[in-house]
């Protein structure tokens, strides 16, 4: 696959670049990583939005948008997510490769500089963030927190995690709480920004055709003046569930949702995480999976029933939408498939087909800018990069016995049901 070149620019600051001439676009992202904490999550999330929508040179959303528009509709985006017990704040700039501009402009260089500006030269007034900008972003962040309830599939999954991990750091939402978002002051935000520059781990990832030297130099210089004391976190892994907690919520919905949360008994950096990933895919990760073939195709109970393994946190979730009267039948159907796997009911076809599907998706990711970036970004917590070839070889080498062992580590922790109040 496309080679990645990684350099350290400062204490806890790394610049990784992939040069690839196959694409029409380039992308540069700053992944800012901090320990997830109830005290700072909300301020960091709000900060992420404020930073991505203005800077000293383009002091408000409209000015910055116009600049991006003139760079052939380039995109400067921000998102916050959780990776284990870390909060990952990503600021990304994506735009047209220089070869395709109408008048020979260099978009790549301007975007790298712009990304650097929004991080290091925000729009401050008397040393603090401008209140008007903060209020605008606060309103929108609160909207997006509320909007989680609009999509019932995502809402149900979020509720499962909230209940399952209530006593763990991972139970903190990626943006903290709405109440905390309401309380952050511009001064708090300014402190959060200074704290990030000093203590966060910065992983800058560049994918594009032109040489990354200039972008790298810009970041290198920016960090030259900063006193760094980076901090990292260890993710808490709970290996087994002692009892099953069932939570039921009633809302006026047409379709009930069932989400089941399991402790997987293994997480990165343990070798067994590969077998757990394959086990989860055989169970409910493809259109040939046990859940798809049995609870959907044979029993016609649902349209979707999927499993996903979070290798950083060591948990597995299964989610489905179902008629209220069929909830128990669906739950029993899901548990039966897991019981089968624990007892070794796994065919060679299931092993081989799932490995092929996983390996196919690995290789496909190398054919898009976003895919290459995501491949490496996903590994920023793994203590080194693995190529697609290496990962394909690792998945290919997992044995049926290892998959059975991974299934036997599963323990059901929490069941969340969302159903109609009249159902």
């Amino acid at each position: 696959m496309s080679q990645i070149n990684r350099k350290q620019l400062a204490d806890g600051v790394f610049f990784s670049s992939v040069r690839d001439g196959r694409f029409k676009t380039m992308k540069i992202s700053a992944n800012i990583i901090v320990p997830l904490s109830a005290d700072t999550a909300a301020a960091n999330a709000l900060l992420c939005d404020v930073l991505s929508h203005s800077c000293k040179a383009y002091p408000d959303f409209t000015a910055l948008s116009k600049k991006l528009c003139s760079l052939y509709g380039a995109d400067l985006s921000a998102f916050v997510r959780k990776v284990g017990d870390h909060q990952l704040i990503a600021l990304s700039a994506m735009g047209l490769d220089d070869r395709y501009t109408l008048n020979g402009e260099s978009v790549a260089q301007e975007l790298s500089r712009l990304l650097c500006s929004v991080i290091f030269e925000p729009n401050l007034s008397d040393g603090v963030f401008v209140e008007e900008n903060v209020e605008q972003e606060r309103r929108q962040l609160l909207d997006s927190i509320d909007a989680e309830y609009n999509d019932k599939r995502l809402y149900a999954i979020a509720q499962l995690i909230k209940h399952m991990c209530a006593k763990e750091t991972y139970g903190i939402k990626r943006y903290g709480s709405a109440q905390q978002v309401r309380e952050v002051t511009p001064q708090d935000l300014t402190n959060a920004w200074k704290n990030l520059l000093k203590t966060a781990i910065f992983e800058i990832v560049y994918v594009g055709d032109s040489a990354p030297d200039k972008a790298q130099a810009v970041f290198s210089e920016a960090f030259g003046n900063i006193d760094r004391a980076p901090a990292a976190a260890d993710t808490q892994i709970i290996r087994t569930a002692n009892s099953v907690n069932t939570v039921t919520e009633e809302i006026n919905v047409a379709q009930a949702k069932l989400v089941m949360g399991f402790r997987a008994g293994t997480a990165l950096p343990e070798k067994e995480a590969d077998a757990a990933a394959l086990m989860c895919a055989i169970l409910g990760g493809t259109a040939n999976s046990k859940l798809f073939c049995n609870v959907r195709e044979k029993q016609s109970l649902c349209y979707y029933c999927a499993s996903r393994y979070d290798k950083h946190k060591g948990i597995m979730l299964i989610d489905s939408g179902v008629q209220t009267e069929n909830i128990d039948k669906l739950k029993a159907g899901i548990l039966k498939e897991i019981e089968d796997m624990k007892n070794g009911v796994i065919t060679d076809f299931e092993m081989d087909a799932t490995k092929r599907a996983m390996i196919n998706s690995f290789y496909s990711s190398n054919d898009t800018v976003g895919g290459i970036e995501a491949w490496y970004t996903a590994q920023l917590f793994d203590g080194g990069f693995t190529t697609i070839e290496e990962m394909a070889a690792r998945i290919g080498a997992v044995t049926k016995e290892q998959v059975i062992a991974a299934a036997n580590k599963l323990t059901l922790d929490t069941v969340y049901v969302l159903k109609n109040s009249e159902g």
């Binding site: 196959r22 676009t25 959303f61 116009k66 929108q140 909007a147 195709e297 016609s300 939408g321 898009t368």
Partner: protein, 426 residues
């Protein structure tokens, strides 16, 4: 008929592809991408949820249940020997399908064994197998798919808006139909639809990525027999220019209300590349995050970053839709209408126009980045009678006067429908 191959090149995009009229009647596009390991193939029929009343070769009019095109898509994956997913499992390809208002498409992507996967695709799409038993089995699955969409506020707000805009056109009917309408579907009705619309002359195949023309044609030559060309007629009741009602609302368990504001446009013919370029630039200049409209709505807390707009067009329908989350949807709609009226009077600034043109141009080139995006776009352009590189050139050639002339005849503020979903208490 012999197979005819033409190369289509673009200086601006730095790419080229092959347009082929195959001896079987199938339209084929092959877009090789150097250095890619993956390949993506999609085959589609000009047949979607709106084709519910039709005739073949001037014969009797046939009316079929709502949602049947989507149902057919699900059932085509099955054959007497099993389903296509099981066969794809042997090659490792990732397969899927979708039904929209005017087309049904089947696709896969792979990084090895392309020929084997391609054969599976052509085979199952070309060989229907519908029985009373297999049809019955799908009722529960699609029933749950429909229920899932019933809980989607984005989906509901759009269809409520379409119902408020269109008196008769079937675009207002849910693509998957209803639990009641799909209960009417039988194997015989599925065959009626299949035999009418799944004719190679009415279909398109697009392949992009790590493949060659020779490779694609070798399998096509072996698998596809010439199809006799039929005249297919789809009947739509006359649709007045005027909307049905200006406001529709539904109570829904949402924390943030959602709105769609749809402007009903004339739909005599589908837009060509020039008009698509003009409308793209026009909408970007009007409502993108750089616009004065966007700024005003942000400042007045009327929208958030979910705000978006699109041209929504197909056979017999055309509209421009603005939408997103809003705590004050009526005020947002009024602001949009007022701003359109102002721009119609005063025109765009040079800066607004130039920036919008660059943004639309940049997007059109960026769309040629991934094999999936390329294959899907080319299929879309084919069904609308357009060509992608011509569209890119049309953007570069569009002037401010073109865009303003285009606006003069669009976005009638007296012919639009506002649809809102919000919580019962609000």
């Amino acid at each position: 008929m012999n197979t005819v191959i033409n190369e289509v090149k673009s200086q601006r995009a730095g790419d080229s592809y092959y347009k082929i009229k195959h001896s079987s009647g199938l339209n084929i596009y092959v877009y090789p991408k150097e250095g890619y390991r993956s390949a993506y193939a999609i085959i589609g029929a000009r047949y979607g949820s709106i084709n519910t009343c039709f005739s073949r070769d001037g014969g009797e009019k046939i009316t079929v249940p709502d949602g049947i095109a989507h149902y057919l898509e699900h059932k085509l994956f099955e054959s007497a020997e099993g389903d296509a997913f099981t066969r794809y499992a042997e090659t490792g390809a990732s397969a899927n399908a979708y039904t929209s208002f005017e087309k049904t498409c089947y696709l896969f992507s792979c990084t090895e064994k392309f020929d084997e996967s391609f054969e599976i695709l052509l085979d199952f799409v070309g060989n229907p197998y519908f029985t009373a038993q297999t049809v019955a089995k799908e009722q529960g699955i699609i029933g749950q798919e429909i229920k899932m969409y019933d809980d989607s506020p984005d989906w509901r707000v759009m269809f409520n808006m379409l119902g408020g805009m269109y008196h008769n056109h079937p675009v207002k009917i849910d693509i998957a139909g209803t639990v009641e309408s799909i209960a009417e579907i039988t194997a015989e009705k599925l065959y009626d639809c299949y035999n009418t619309f799944y004719n190679l002359n009415n279909m398109v195949l697009c392949v992009a990525g790590n493949i060659t023309v020779e490779q694609v044609l070798k399998t096509c030559d072996r698998m596809l027999r010439p199809n006799e060309k039929h005249t297919i007629e789809t009947y739509f009741e006359d649709e007045p220019y005027e909307i049905v009602e200006p406001y529709v609302e539904q109570s829904f368990p949402v924390a943030v209300p959602i709105f769609n504001l749809g402007f009903k446009e004339k739909a005599d013919s589908l837009s060509d590349e020039r008009r698509l370029a003009q409308i793209g630039i026009l909408l970007s200049a009007l409502a993108s995050p750089t616009s004065a409209l966007y700024r005003e709505m942000l400042d007045n807390n009327l929208i958030n970053s979910t705000f978006s707009f699109e041209l929504f067009e197909g056979p017999g329908y055309c509209s421009v839709i603005f939408g997103g989350e809003s705590r004050a949807p009526k005020q947002a709609a009024e602001t949009i209408k007022r701003y359109i009226t102002e721009v119609k009077k005063n025109g765009f600034t040079d800066e607004d126009f130039e920036n919008a043109k660059k943004a639309v141009y940049g997007d059109s080139i960026s769309d040629l980045n991934s094999v999936g995006s390329i294959a899907n776009l080319i299929a879309d352009y084919h069904f609308n009678g357009n060509e992608i590189f011509t569209y890119i050139d049309a953007i570069a050639d569009t002037t401010k006067a073109d865009v303003e002339a285009c606006l003069a005849d669009m976005l009638d503020v007296n012919n639009c429908t506002l649809s809102v979903v919000k919580n019962a208490e609000e």
